[in-house]
């Protein structure tokens, strides 16, 4: 077996998976952060409690994703992070504010709580916008021309909409009563803008990048790829249905909304992976050109093969321990 071929492929897959998990998991944390200003003070505490035991591990997935980029594809790592210097810096500042606000909002004293709640929401918003921007710039190959900047701006708005949906769907799982009803309303309000963005992005992507257009719209690929947009549309329809069906919501099946969103995220990332492959930076550098030395990849590969199943196992354990509705667990 040719390790020089398979190892970069393995790490590209692992990186994509880590970033997908990040978007879903920290997506709901950031979404709830952005929804925080619309809740009452007591509800804010419950919302934070609904993500409290999870957010730290959730955020670690982006460290793994960027870590793999750095470990396995150092050439691409420096291209990506040098081109995205400003949005990365702003995103980090947003994540810093959001992350420390968990503790400060309850520990710094009641006088300061409102300030830290605002910083929590502000940090979540900044991080989400920047991540959208980075994704948009990345999809168009980090060229930085006017069309791709416009495209990056479009995704910068789309990703927060997705995160807000994820946040609202997570609240359906973790909350009850008035806050649950609020989450339903938030979800209903955000679902159409999110769908609109999704449609716009699907139209804009092939327009912005002819390389991507070729991949999707030439026969026979186009037919083989049809299941992706069809399944996405079905998941989206299911999402709207869940948020509008009293029967589903009040019989404890609210988690279906989260599942529908997960399906959409998985499909979108499959589509993205197909669009980019075999490049790691579109049109600039391929997975194999950017890869580290095979012996370095192999050393990390063994670690990853042993550690990743363990990480997945205890992540599931943690989610089991904290299953059910969020009680008022407090950081105080």
């Amino acid at each position: 077996m040719d390790l020089g071929y398979w190892l970069p492929l393995f790490f590209a897959g692992a990186m994509g998976l880590a970033l997908l998990i990040y978007v879903i998991l920290d997506g709901y944390d950031l979404g709830i952060g952005m929804l925080l200003p619309f809740a009452s003070d007591d509800e804010k505490d419950v919302m934070v409690a609904a993500i409290g035991p999870f957010w730290d591990a959730n955020e670690t997935w982006i460290v793994l994703g960027v870590g793999i980029l750095l470990i396995a594809f150092p050439q691409a790592h420096s291209i990506v992070l040098t081109s995205l210097y400003l949005p990365v810096t702003l995103m980090l500042m947003g994540l810093i504010l959001r992350g420390v606000a968990f503790d400060f909002r309850v520990k710094a004293g009641d006088k300061h709580k409102a300030k830290w709640n605002r910083l929590f929401a502000f940090g979540s918003l900044v991080a989400s916008l920047c991540q959208g921007w980075m994704l948009g710039a990345f999809v168009t190959g980090l060229t930085g021309d006017a069309t791709s900047t416009l495209f990056a701006a479009l995704i910068a708005l789309a990703l927060p909409a997705l995160y807000i949906m994820l946040g609202a769907a997570w609240l359906l799982i973790k909350t009850e009563g008035e806050l649950f009803n609020k989450a339903v309303r938030w979800g209903r309000m955000a679902v159409l803008p999110m769908g609109g963005f999704l449609l716009l992005i699907s139209i804009a992507t092939p327009l912005v990048s002819s390389a991507i257009a070729d991949k999707w719209f030439t026969l026979p690929n186009a037919i083989g790829l049809m299941p992706i947009p069809i399944a996405t549309a079905l998941a989206y329809a299911g999402l709207i249905w869940v948020f509008n069906s009293k029967q589903i919501l009040h019989n404890g099946y609210g988690w279906l909304a989260f599942v529908a969103l997960m399906v959409m995220c998985v499909l979108a990332s499959i589509g993205l992976a197909y669009s980019l492959f075999p490049d790691i930076v579109l049109g600039r550098i391929s997975i194999w050109e950017a890869a580290s030395a095979t012996e370095s990849l192999l050393f990390t590969f063994w670690g990853a093969i042993i550690a990743l199943p363990m990480i997945l196992a205890y992540t599931i354990f943690i989610y089991r321990v904290f299953r059910g509705k969020a009680t008022h667990l407090s950081y105080e």
């Binding site: 870590g67 750095l70 150092p74 990480i311 904290f322």
Partner: protein
């Protein structure tokens, strides 16, 4: 005014890593202290230790959050500021950082949730194990990152092809010559930082009369740690210095302010190093002592800065930072012994008879931070102009950003960090000043409190 982008990139990296290291320094040590509290209350059933655990776990959580978010910044900074480093040394640095993420970050981040919120959801044993796993995770994290840092100081186990590093032996890369010393030195430094933090805050509480039944026990724990570890740290530091002399003599020459190679070199206690004139002004010297400390012979030869023209670090910051570190280290030995003697003799828990000790301890609350920062400045500035000692220059790997961009983001980071540092210290102060509750109450009140805790979280 045009700034040198290279200098700005270094300043930005220095600002980020200086801010970051403050918090892991606390959490690596404090987590083992928490595990100890947790064990004490499991096996003795003494409620005071439980109280100590739940008081300190809150401070741990806050420090941990600051460490995590500033650590994420670090993982991006390698690429944003030093892309050349990853392109050239990525084959070595990448896997070491990868193992840190895989074996440490997820472990600590995941089980922290159970440690903080899981008390009523898992068995006592699982909660104890979760606490241990977080402590193990923080120590693993220190293991990998210090291994990488040590490799940059004393690279072994590599080969270079077309300017790119490749691995020859992972064992030699990970356990490079300075790693055991640096790890022991930093790990002990973390425990000492935690010891003086818990003593300092407990002393503060005792002085203000808001102490609970755990306060003096915690203070004694810290005193015992300091009394044993501070002198041990002097020995480890000395061994680390000898290792540095063997592998990075230029750093030692800068630390000691030795300009010319000489036999029987004197030890400069204080003075003002002047790189223009290659001399130390107003130096207070002890004859032959530098030779004796470094070579363990009165007439041993010590290499001077003259041997390393163009490859020597800036002298003054290394020289001064070294004196700050050693000064605080010595102070820690004295205060550690003094507090152990005062606190264990008769178990005197009276704030009126312990006034001076309590004052001294609260002043020393963050002394570990100062010593750790000074120590890192010695070793990192002392490695310059190299990023990988003797092989790759820092100036070769810097990113090509405009100085306006770097200056702007540096300004943003510094403002943010100052704000967070002020908030952190103010919050610790606020938490320390809140009166201890629960354990001084009547059984009925305690039962009510417990019910409240069960639903209200701890």
């Amino acid at each position: 005014m045009e700034f040198d982008p290279f200098l700005l990139a270094r300043l930005q990296f220095a600002a980020n890593i200086s801010f970051h290291i403050l918090f892991p320094t606390i959490t690596i040590g404090l987590c083992w202290v928490l595990f100890y509290f947790r064990l004490r209350y499991t096996f003795s059933g003494d409620k005071a230790w439980e109280y100590a655990y739940f008081f300190w776990v809150k401070i741990f959580a806050l420090s941990f959050a600051l460490g995590v978010v500033s650590g994420i910044t670090m993982s991006f900074q390698f690429g944003t500021n030093w892309p050349g480093f990853m392109e050239r040394a990525g084959n070595i640095a990448g896997p070491l950082l990868g193992y840190e993420v895989l074996t440490a970050f997820f472990l600590e981040a995941s089980f922290l949730g159970i440690m903080l919120f899981g008390k009523d959801r898992v068995s006592n044993r699982t909660h104890l194990i979760a606490t241990a796993l977080v402590a193990v995770g923080t120590s693993f994290s220190a293991f990998w990152i210090l291994s990488l840092n040590s490799w940059m100081q004393t690279p072994t186990g590599y080969r270079i092809e077309d300017g790119v590093f490749f691995v020859e032996s992972w064992w030699e890369v990970i356990f490079n010559p300075s790693f055991p010393y640096r790890f022991a030195h930093m790990f002990t430094a973390s425990l000492l930082t935690a010891a003086f933090l818990i003593m300092g805050i407990s002393a503060w509480r005792a002085m203000r009369g808001v102490d609970g039944p755990a306060t003096w026990k915690v203070m004694r724990t810290g005193a015992l740690m300091a009394a044993v570890l501070a002198p041990l740290q002097v020995v480890i530091g000395d061994l680390h210095g000898l290792n540095t002399l063997e592998h990075q003599p230029a750093k030692i020459a800068a630390m000691e302010g030795i300009w010319e190679t000489e036999k029987g070199a004197p030890l400069t206690l204080f003075g003002f190093p002047d790189e223009e004139e290659k001399t130390t002004h107003m130096a207070i010297k002890v004859p032959k002592l530098a030779s004796f400390i470094l070579t363990h012979e009165w007439d041993g030869e010590v290499l001077g800065l003259n041997e390393f023209e163009g490859e020597a670090p800036p002298v003054a910051p290394v020289f001064w930072a070294f004196r700050v570190m050693v000064g605080i280290g010595m102070l820690m030995v004295l205060v550690g012994w003094w507090s152990a003697w005062r606190l264990f003799r008769n178990r005197d828990e009276n704030r009126d008879t312990q006034t001076w000790l309590l004052r001294a301890l609260s002043v020393m609350t963050f002394s570990g931070w100062v010593a750790v920062l000074a120590g890192w400045y010695v070793t990192e500035i002392g490695r310059q102009p190299w990023i990988v000692d003797g092989l790759l220059r820092t100036s070769e790997v810097v990113a090509d950003h405009s100085s306006a961009t770097v200056a702007g983001t540096l300004f943003g980071y510094v403002l943010l960090y100052l704000f967070l540092l002020v908030s952190y210290i103010a919050t610790l102060r606020y938490m320390a000043t809140k009166p201890a509750r629960s354990l001084t109450l009547t059984p009925q009140q305690r039962a009510m409190n417990d019910a409240e805790t069960a639903e209200g979280g701890a």
